[in-house]
Structure formats: structure tokens, C-alpha cells
């Protein structure tokens, strides 16, 4: 095989050490810590069969759907907010520039979990009542339309979900804005002056000349940030949003199958994120190949 042909002596040493380490871990798990592996129950944590109602979603599948909902809403919202912040960062107006800068620096220099603790309570207790989102969320929660169920999952958590999505989006928007800003700044001054020379407005210059060229360059890093966002949805478990990690911890507690459940959870995250990163690499190759 090509892989083994290219290896040097040092690589064999590293391979041997890795193999020995993995072997030791396996040995510990298999014979030393007296853990009974039992994967048989895992599929039923996703879907179970009920005599009366037929096949039913179980906690892990519900959590998985919530993960997808949160990821979709947050990525859309964070791209919108991020674009706004990026435009503020590149604006000539000093105050806009600084407002955006303060938010970005604030977010980038504290851990996501701490940000969530601060903003979740701030957003849900102070902003929501003022903006009427609380009333809106309660209205949604009280309606029994199937659409609401499809969009927000369990009605009891609609408000939590909205608050969580807003917090996560604010957080991710800071990073997205840096990606957009880099993209915008990578568009040469010549392009802007070309636009000015044909007498279009500043807005048109940004909209038709700068942003289209900036977006083209930002797609691969944006997908990278989306992967981070998907992983970051797991921190929402601490504010009791029934997303995938929260569901995982519930199943661990109720079933006691610690390793099986967490490994399953990890595999699902891995599949989503790895698929996206392969996709993003394809995009990059497609771009440079043009």
C-alpha cells in the first residue's frame, strides 16, 4: 500500500507507540474496569416500538432534530448578524466601527459557556418581555399547529429555544463577522475605485462589486465556522434546551450505558461535522481549480 511505502523509520516508531497505547486502552476497558458493554439498547434510544402507537421517536432522535433546528436557525441568524457587524467594522463611521469592535472582542475573549450564562438570562429575562418575544413564544407554545411542532419541537421549550438560538447566534456572529471582514478587505481597492469611477453610490459599490467578490472567498471559512457552530450547540444543554448533548446526558442517567451513549453521541456529531468539512474542502478545490 502507498501509505506504508511512504513511511520512514521514525513513523514506524510513532505508529507502534500509538498502536500500543490504543491496545492498552482497549485492554483496560475490556478486562480491567469490569465494564459490561451492551450496545443492544442504543437503537431504541432513537426510535422505539410501542404496542399501541407504533414506532415513536425517543429522546436521542428528538435531541437530534433539535440540534438540526438550532443549527439551521443559528447559522442563518449568525450570518445575517455577522454580515451586519462586518459592514459596521469596515464603515468609515468611527462609532459604528467601535461598537462592532467592542462586541467582537468581548465575544472572542470569553468562553462560549460563560457568554451563554450571561446572555441567556439577560436575553430571556430582560430583552424578551420588552420586545414582546415572550408573548410571541407563549402564543406559539399554546397553539397546537403542526407547523409550530415542526419548527420548534416540543412546545414547552419554544421560548428557551428562541433565547438559546439568539445567544448562540450572537456568539457565532462575532466570528462570522471576522470572516466577512477579511473577505471584504481582500477585495482590492482597484475594484472599489473602478466602481466609483462609473458613478455608483457607496451602497451599490458594496452591494454589487465588493460583496459578491468577498462572498466567493468566504464560503470555505464560513463552512468551517458552521462546523464550530454545530459543535457549540452542545453548550445549550446547560440551559436545559433539549438538544442532542442534553438528550445524551438524559439517556446516560436513565440507562446507565455511559460509554455506549456518549460514543454514539460523538459519532453522530462526527458524521455531521466531517461531512461538512469534506464538502468545504471540495469547494476549496473547486475554487482553486477554476
Amino acid at each position: 500500500m502507498r501509505f506504508f511505502k511512504d513511511l520512514k523509520a521514525g513513523d514506524y516508531v510513532i505508529l507502534a507507540i500509538t498502536a500500543a497505547f490504543l491496545g492498552a486502552v482497549w485492554y483496560q476497558l475490556a478486562f480491567q474496569i469490569n465494564y459490561n458493554w451492551d450496545w443492544s439498547g442504543i437503537p431504541s434510544f432513537f426510535v422505539y416500538y410501542d404496542e399501541e402507537t407504533g414506532y415513536q421517536q425517543n429522546v436521542l432522535l428528538i435531541g437530534f432534530f433539535n440540534l438540526i433546528r438550532i443549527a439551521i436557525y443559528s447559522s442563518i441568524l449568525s450570518v445575517i448578524l455577522g454580515l451586519g457587524l462586518a459592514l459596521m467594522r469596515v464603515s468609515d463611521r468611527r462609532w459604528m466601527n467601535w461598537t462592532a469592535r467592542v462586541l467582537v472582542e468581548f465575544v472572542r475573549n470569553i468562553p462560549p459557556l460563560v457568554f451563554l450564562f450571561i446572555f441567556y438570562f439577560f436575553v430571556s429575562d430582560m430583552i424578551f418581555p420588552v420586545l414582546g418575544i415572550r408573548a410571541f413564544a407563549q402564543m406559539l407554545a399554546n397553539s397546537d399547529s403542526a407547523v409550530v411542532g415542526f419548527l420548534f419541537g416540543d412546545r414547552v421549550f419554544v421560548e428557551n429555544l428562541i433565547a438559546g438560538v439568539i445567544c448562540l447566534s450572537l456568539f457565532e456572529a462575532a466570528y462570522v463577522s471576522e470572516i466577512f471582514r477579511a473577505g471584504i478587505e481582500s477585495v482590492g481597492k482597484d475594484q472599489r475605485e473602478g466602481a466609483r469611477s462609473v458613478g455608483v453610490t457607496k451602497y451599490q459599490e458594496m452591494r454589487y462589486i465588493v460583496l459578491p467578490q468577498a462572498f466567493e472567498k468566504t464560503v470555505p471559512p464560513l463552512v468551517g465556522q458552521l462546523i464550530t457552530l454545530i459543535k457549540d450547540t452542545s453548550i445549550m444543554s446547560v440551559i436545559s434546551i433539549q438538544e442532542f448533548t442534553f438528550a445524551g446526558s438524559e439517556m446516560v442517567v436513565s440507562s446507565g450505558r455511559i460509554f455506549e451513549v456518549w460514543i454514539t453521541v460523538a459519532v453522530v456529531y462526527f458524521i455531521i461535522c466531517y461531512a461538512l468539512s469534506v464538502y468545504s474542502r471540495r469547494l476549496e478545490i473547486g475554487r482553486t481549480g477554476r
Binding site: R196, S197, Y208
Partner: protein, 254 residues
């Protein structure tokens, strides 16, 4: 020669008076006075760093200035004015590096200004674009991207893009300096044709042949000031200033 009371027959199209510009402490333009009549062709030359590019970039407000006035028609050029884009629609600009929109085809490059700034319909703009592409003799390149064209072709597209706006005056900022030698003439020929049709032109260039055959006036700049202004005949055969003579020997030698 540069006296304001030279009493032209018509009010000048461009009237630069007492123009001064600083980059922080660096005085880039010093008391520039220059008028351009409608239909007049003026070539500005001078050593690099003399401020000639900065001067014409001030005319369409790509650069701001701190003192003096530039009038285009009756309007004062002011880079801070929120209607500055209206003024730029009347003042065409051709850049050294072409500055074509990289993500648009040639045709889209040409239609962009007419559609977005002049609010022409797509079909009108396209008709106009094809007309000017034929004029600069590359109608067959309409659907290519700028990166697929040679430098000379790109610069001709840039000239056509500017023409599509029907400008009152065209500014050229060293239009042939970024070109390979064999492509310089195709661009100069286009410019000469334009001049013959009566376009008002303000051209920064080192092409002295172009200056001799096309210019009504040649302006020599050094260290941010206009040193000498004369008709090409006088300028080349009988330059008054030491620095002009110096410059001419250097430029003609190579």
C-alpha cells in the same frame, strides 16, 4: 500663461484653482491652477512622485483636497459630498491597472454603470456597450472575463466602460504604464481616435509621442507643482525650465 484672466471664450469645463493637498505633513499638491476647455486635450507629465496622478484623482474625487477649488462645470468637486457619485458619472476615469470588475464579464462590466448609475434599461445598456466594444475593436470578447484578456484588451475594455457613461471629460491615469510594449499602441490608437472625435481629455502619461500628436497643452509637474505649461511645439522644442529640459532628456533617451 496660467493667469486666471486669460479670458477663454467659454467657461472652462474643468477649473482647478489654487489647489493644495497634503498627506499629513507631506505637501503633495502646491497651488495648482489649471483650466480645461471643452474638447481640449491636456497631457500631464513629470517624474514619478511629482503629484500628477494625485492631481487627476482629485478631479473625480477619488482623493480629497484641503485647499483651493476644483470645478467641473458649475459644480465644486468635494469627496465628502454625498452626491459625489453624480459628479463622477460625468467624469470618466481610466486607470493604470484597468480596475475592471473581476467577477463580471466584459459586457457586464460595461453595463454596470449605465444600469445602476444612469438607470438605463438592460437592453439599452447592452446596445450601448456593444457599440463601444466595437469602437475599441473587441466586440468578440463581450462574454469573456477580464482575466482572460490581454492587458491591452483589458485597457480598451476599461476605456469602453468609461465611454458607456457618456462622460463630459475623460481622465487617464498612466493608461499604458502597466502594459507590455507591444500592446501600448493599440491603447494609444484608441485614445487618439477618441481625441479626434473631440473628447475632452486629461491624460497623465510618459508617452511623449502621444503628447506631441494629440495634446493641445502639455503640463510639466515636479514636486507637486506645475513647473511649465505650453503647447507641445514650444514644450518639446523650447522648454523654459531647467527641470523640464532635464526631464525631457531623460525620457527621450530611453
Amino acid at each position: 500663461m496660467r493667469e486666471k484672466d486669460q479670458t477663454p471664450m467659454n467657461p472652462p469645463l474643468i477649473d482647478i484653482s489654487n489647489l493644495n493637498k497634503w498627506y499629513d505633513d507631506f505637501h503633495v499638491l502646491k497651488d495648482i491652477n489649471l483650466t480645461v476647455q471643452s474638447g481640449e486635450k491636456i497631457v500631464i507629465c513629470g517624474p514619478s512622485g511629482s503629484g500628477k496622478s494625485t492631481l487627476i484623482r482629485c478631479v473625480n474625487a477619488l482623493e480629497a483636497y484641503q485647499k483651493g477649488d476644483i470645478l467641473v462645470g458649475a459644480d465644486r468637486v468635494d469627496a465628502e459630498d454625498k452626491n459625489v457619485h453624480k459628479l463622477r458619472q460625468r467624469v470618466g476615469m481610466v486607470f493604470q491597472q484597468f480596475n475592471l470588475f473581476a467577477h463580471m464579464t466584459v459586457l457586464e462590466n460595461l453595463c454596470f454603470g449605465p444600469v445602476k448609475a444612469l438607470k438605463l434599461s438592460k437592453s439599452e445598456a447592452e446596445e450601448r456597450a456593444r457599440h463601444f466594444l466595437t469602437k475599441v475593436r473587441i466586440p468578440e470578447q463581450a462574454d469573456k472575463y477580464p482575466s482572460q484578456l490581454s492587458g491591452g484588451q483589458q485597457q480598451r475594455v476599461a476605456i469602453a466602460r468609461s465611454l458607456c457613461m457618456n462622460p463630459d471629460v475623460m481622465l487617464f491615469d498612466e493608461p499604458t504604464s502597466a502594459l507590455d510594449p507591444e500592446m501600448i499602441n493599440e491603447v494609444l490608437d484608441t485614445m487618439i481616435e477618441l481625441a479626434d472625435e473631440g473628447m475632452t481629455m486629461l491624460v497623465v502619461t510618459h508617452e511623449m509621442g502621444f503628447a506631441k500628436s494629440v495634446a493641445d497643452q502639455v503640463v510639466f509637474m515636479d514636486h507637486g507643482a506645475i513647473v511649465e505649461q505650453a503647447t507641445p511645439d514650444t514644450f518639446f522644442s523650447n522648454p523654459k525650465h531647467e527641470r523640464t529640459r532635464d526631464f525631457l532628456t531623460k525620457i527621450i533617451q530611453h
